[in-house]
């Protein structure tokens, strides 16, 4: 079942997390679920990478964590985007679009 999914391109994980959190604060599980949903099951964040990535982003000051209560009435750690994170997301999006279109043009040209 994992084989039907696309492998996550290098360096895109941070972008996906930041993009997801730009909609509203979420906890780790919900971030993974959201990415899977939106990509229509094409992308799945492996748990093994999600949490280290969250900790790294928090350290860089792009996201900030606070404890809240989840839908199932459990304490959960919610992450939200900081201002620096939003700037980072914008520059990341621009870079990604440029890259995607450049790669696309090359693929079409051949």
């Amino acid at each position: 079942m994992a084989s039907s999914r696309l492998p996550l391109p290098q360096g895109t994980l941070d972008l996906l997390i930041l993009r997801t959190l730009s909609l509203r604060p979420e906890h780790g599980w919900a971030i993974a679920e959201r990415v899977q949903q939106i990509s229509q099951n094409a992308l799945q964040i492996p748990q093994g990478s999600l949490y280290p990535a969250l900790h790294r982003l928090e350290r860089r000051g792009w996201i900030r964590a606070s404890w809240g209560v989840s839908d199932h009435n459990r304490r959960a750690k919610y992450y939200e985007l900081t201002r620096a994170g939003r700037r980072r997301l914008e520059s990341g999006e621009t870079a990604w679009r440029k890259l995607a279109s450049a790669v696309g043009r090359i693929l079409e040209a051949v």
Partner: protein
């Protein structure tokens, strides 16, 4: 940037909270994932299993989160240190042995390093000391004058100092002794007569006043003196106004023109070649005042020289100019060809000369101890890590990276070595105090040794590097081993895993071998020392008082008066009831070198200057040989009837008789010296007497009586008085006897002959004690290692031993079984050690006396002794094996 820092700080300081939060976060995720599967209709257990698989290793994930927090290295270190501390507290015996071993090794090496640092590494108290050289003259190849470093003659010194291009200052100096008279009791002052450039060559000007000018360094104008700091403090109460005042030296007024700074004491006898006679430490410096013009007949060569090279000129360039000068002198004086070569020796090498090589030997010994300690602790760690194989295996199966486990094990060993290092520094404080208390005064700068910053840095570096050195190999070995096998083996211990056992055995054998090398080395030094103190020095040291007497030329201007005064003093001394014999000579045995001179032997033609025979030339009085206990081998001793009017006579030593008249009767033969026109008739032969060191082989020596107007001046003579009973008790009577002749004459260097010999033995004794101490430490460490290894082997084989006992094996057989292992290890270690000692201890040859570096007796005696000690160390744990209860043993597996 700031958030980053704050984040890391929180992660570090509130580690527990952060970890708990991570746990909770991951659990929430886990629960949510399970719920999702359950809602999709998967049974709960299957759901949980699937989620666990998706997660992978939980510990690994946590570890990665910790890494992402960016504080991992520091945090891991803290965790590891704390963990190591817990483990060590749990395993007290192991920790105690390991820390004690390291304390011993680091303490010993830090002590030795502090000595090496003070003596060899600390900069000399002279500015740009690397530019200062002492160019001793060398005897031509093949000519043995008894000494290596020879003095310069006035002619060469004056010629070279005028023409030199490479030296900025070039000065000559000689040792002397002057009597300070006038206010207070007369004392004899250690004196250096120095030429004008002396202080600028060393680069140290007087602290008060000024140095000598060239104009003052002239005969007749030399009545000026510079005081040493200690004399200035003790005799003149540190009064700066002393500069400009006159003091009485040998009855003549000398104007004080300067005071040297504290600590300046050049030349010291201990730091100069033994063939020169310098004071122990100079108290005053006076101008050398060399005359100008042609050499007088028989003018001795007696100058020591010191030069400061111009800035930027290397020692090699200075040497090149000295070589050119030698060739030039050979053209001018062809018959003296070969006598002008000089060796430009850097000051640092001169000052540390005799101490440098023993120190390197000690450094080698302490390095061996450090190696043994390292391999000992490595072995302990390896043994322990085998017992921990299961723990390590489990942790690596749970996702701990290999590097992480190695890092933790190495942290443990560094914690051990840090504790050992702390203990070592404490031990070194004691060690340094001991070295200062027992170290001989003749080792330069030994008493400046202290626990300073470089020494502490060394102790720190030594601890850290030993920790890594002994920790890394066992850590790598045990981690590599544990990854695969530990869990499969099921049992708590990894029995006989081949790689680990090989490493342990190799370490054990190398310990035994290293210890053997060190113990053999100390054995050789002990035998050397015994030979030295038992060696026949040509005299009997017990019951002899010696002292020096200087007759000032103002009161004793000619030889007649000098001889009369000495004769009167000897008569007075002999009339003391307890005195058996009294005599005087230019030197007493072990009291320093005398003059060396070319001798004339009739019927022995000399064609070239370098074939000229040389001999020590010593003036003595009748009764001298009886007083110092030198046996007369043939003929007669000097008599009171040998006077200026009777036939000139001489006595030679055995070495001289055998060298120049081999196989002949020497008594009645003639010998001459260049200065005297008449030959002397040899009337007796005495035993060879040692002058400078206990290990010297005395060369030819000719003695002449003081009453026959010998050359040169006899202003200063050494007295020897043989007494009944305790010599120290007679000193007051001796002083009184001299005072009865002339109350203004101070006695200098009053000592017993035994004390002088003892001083000469002090350095070899000190080095012997140090190396022996390390030998003992090495032996103890090796035995501890062997004891531990056998104990471990016994525990390892408890089950096997139980089965053997259950099947009817006798206890004696079990004992042999275990001991055989120890015997095998020891035998291999001893064999390797003997080979290593044979190969390396040749380097010690120059330290030895009366014993070869490959002395078979020492080698085998030490090997057998070590074998015995090693087997004793094995016996205790082996006995324990025989008391194994078969039932308990089999259950324990």
């Amino acid at each position: 940037m700031l958030t980053d820092l704050l984040y890391r700080l929180r992660a570090l300081c509130r580690r527990r909270v952060v970890e708990a939060e991570l746990d909770e976060e991951l659990r929430a995720h886990h629960d949510a994932a399970v719920r999702k599967h359950v809602e999709a209709g998967v049974p709960r257990e299957a759901a949980e299993r699937r989620v666990r698989l998706e997660f992978g290793g939980l510990d690994q994930l946590k570890e990665e989160c910790r890494d992402a927090r960016g504080v991992a290295p520091l945090e891991t270190l803290l965790t590891d240190v704390a963990y190591a501390g817990r483990l060590l507290r749990k395993d007290r015996a192991f920790a105690a042995i390991a820390i004690a071993t390291l304390t011993l090794a680091i303490g010993a090496s830090t002590t030795v390093f502090s000595v090496v640092n003070a003596i060899l590494l600390e900069p000399l108290p002279y500015p740009d000391a690397q530019q200062v050289v002492l160019p001793w003259r060398l005897a031509p190849r093949g000519v043995d004058v008894g000494f290596r470093d020879l003095p310069w003659g006035r002619r060469e010194f004056q010629a070279f100092s005028q023409q030199t291009k490479t030296f900025a200052s070039f000065a000559a100096f000689v040792g002397d002794g002057l009597n300070l008279t006038g206010d207070g009791e007369a004392v004899r002052l250690g004196t250096a007569r120095v030429s004008a450039g002396f202080f600028s060559a060393l680069g140290v000007p007087p602290a008060i006043g000024r140095a000598f000018t060239t104009a003052e360094d002239q005969p007749g104008r030399e009545h000026e003196v510079i005081l040493g700091h200690r004399l200035w403090q003790e005799r003149f109460a540190g009064d700066p106004a002393v500069v400009g005042r006159a003091i009485d030296l040998n009855g003549a007024p000398y104007v004080v023109i300067g005071v040297m700074p504290a600590g300046f004491a050049f030349p010291r006898a201990a730091e100069m070649p033994g063939s020169f006679s310098f004071p122990k430490e100079p108290d005053i410096w006076v101008p050398l005042a060399l005359p100008a013009g042609a050499l007088k007949r028989g003018e001795p060569s007696e100058l020591a020289v010191v030069g400061r090279l111009r800035p930027g000129v290397s020692v090699r360039e200075g040497q090149a100019e000295l070589d050119l000068f030698a060739r030039q002198m050979e053209r001018e004086f062809p018959q003296a060809k070969g006598w002008f070569d000089a060796d430009a020796r850097p000051l640092a090498r001169q000052l540390t000369g005799d101490t440098r090589r023993p120190l390197l030997l000690i450094l080698g010994a302490v390095f061996l101890v450090l190696l043994i300690a390292c391999s000992n602790v490595a072995n302990l760690l390896l043994t322990r890590s085998m017992a921990r194989a299961r723990e390590l295996g489990l942790r690596s199966a749970l996702g701990a990276a290999r590097g992480r486990l190695i890092r933790q094990l190495v942290t443990e060993s560094v914690v051990l070595s840090a504790l050992g290092g702390a203990g070592g520094v404490l031990l070194a404080i004691e060690g340094i105090a001991c070295v200062k208390a027992f170290g001989p005064a003749s080792i330069p700068r030994l008493h400046d040794v202290s626990l300073d910053v470089p020494v502490l840095l060394f102790a720190f570096g030594a601890s850290l590097s030993t920790g890594i050195a002994f920790g890394l190999a066992p850590a790598v070995a045990s981690v590599r081993r544990s990854l695969g096998s530990a869990l499969r083996e099921g049992s708590g211990r990894a029995i006989g895993s081949a790689a680990g056992t090989r490493l342990r055995t190799a370490l054990l054998i190398s310990q035994i071998a290293l210890a053997l090398v060190l113990v053999i080395a100390s054995g050789l030094l002990v035998r050397t020392f015994v030979h030295l103190v038992r060696a026949d020095g040509g005299f009997q040291a017990a019951h002899v008082v010696t002292f020096e007497l200087t007759l000032p030329p103002s009161a004793y201007p000619d030889t007649d008066r000098i001889v009369r005064a000495y004769g009167a003093a000897l008569d007075r001394l002999r009339s003391i009831p307890l005195v058996q014999a009294a005599g005087l000579g230019e030197t007493v045995p072990m009291g320093g070198a005398g003059e060396s001179t070319g001798v004339r032997i009739p019927h022995r033609p000399v064609t070239r200057d370098d074939e000229r025979p040389f001999a020590n030339y010593t003036i003595v009085s009748p009764g001298f040989f009886a007083a110092v206990g030198t046996p007369l081998l043939r003929g007669r001793s000097f008599l009171e009837s040998d006077t200026a009017d009777s036939m000139p006579v001489a006595i030679v030593n055995r070495a001289m008789a055998e060298k120049f008249w081999p196989g002949q009767d020497v008594v009645g033969k003639a010998v001459g010296i260049p200065i005297a026109p008449f030959d002397m008739t040899i009337v007796g032969v005495v035993a060879d007497v040692k002058h400078v060191t206990l290990r010297e082989a005395p060369g030819p020596e000719v003695y002449v009586p003081y009453t026959q107007k010998p050359w040169p001046s006899m202003q200063t003579m050494h007295f020897a008085v043989r007494v009944n009973g305790e010599p120290a008790a007679s000193i007051a009577a001796v002083r009184a006897a001299v005072a009865a002749v002339d109350p203004r004459l101070p006695l200098a260097n009053v000592a017993t002959l035994s004390a002088i010999v003892d001083d000469a033995a002090a350095q070899p004794r000190f080095w012997m004690y140090l190396v022996s101490a390390f030998g003992v430490v090495a032996l103890v460490l090796a035995c501890v290692g062997l004891y531990g290894a056998i104990s471990y082997a016994v525990i390892d084989r408890t089950a096997e031993i139980g089965i053997r006992l259950a099947l009817g094996a006798q206890r004696g057989e079990i004992l042999r079984l275990v001991l055989r292992q120890g015997v095998q290890w020891t035998a291999v270690g001893v064999a390797v050690g003997l080979a290593a000692a044979f190969a390396t201890l040749r380097m010690m040859a120059s330290f030895l006396y009366g014993v070869q570096a490959t002395d078979a007796t020492t080698f085998f005696a030490v090997a057998i002794a070590l074998f015995a000690v090693a087997i004793a160390a094995c016996y205790v744990p082996a006995r324990r094996a025989t008391r194994v209860d078969p039932l308990v043993a089999m259950r324990s597996s």
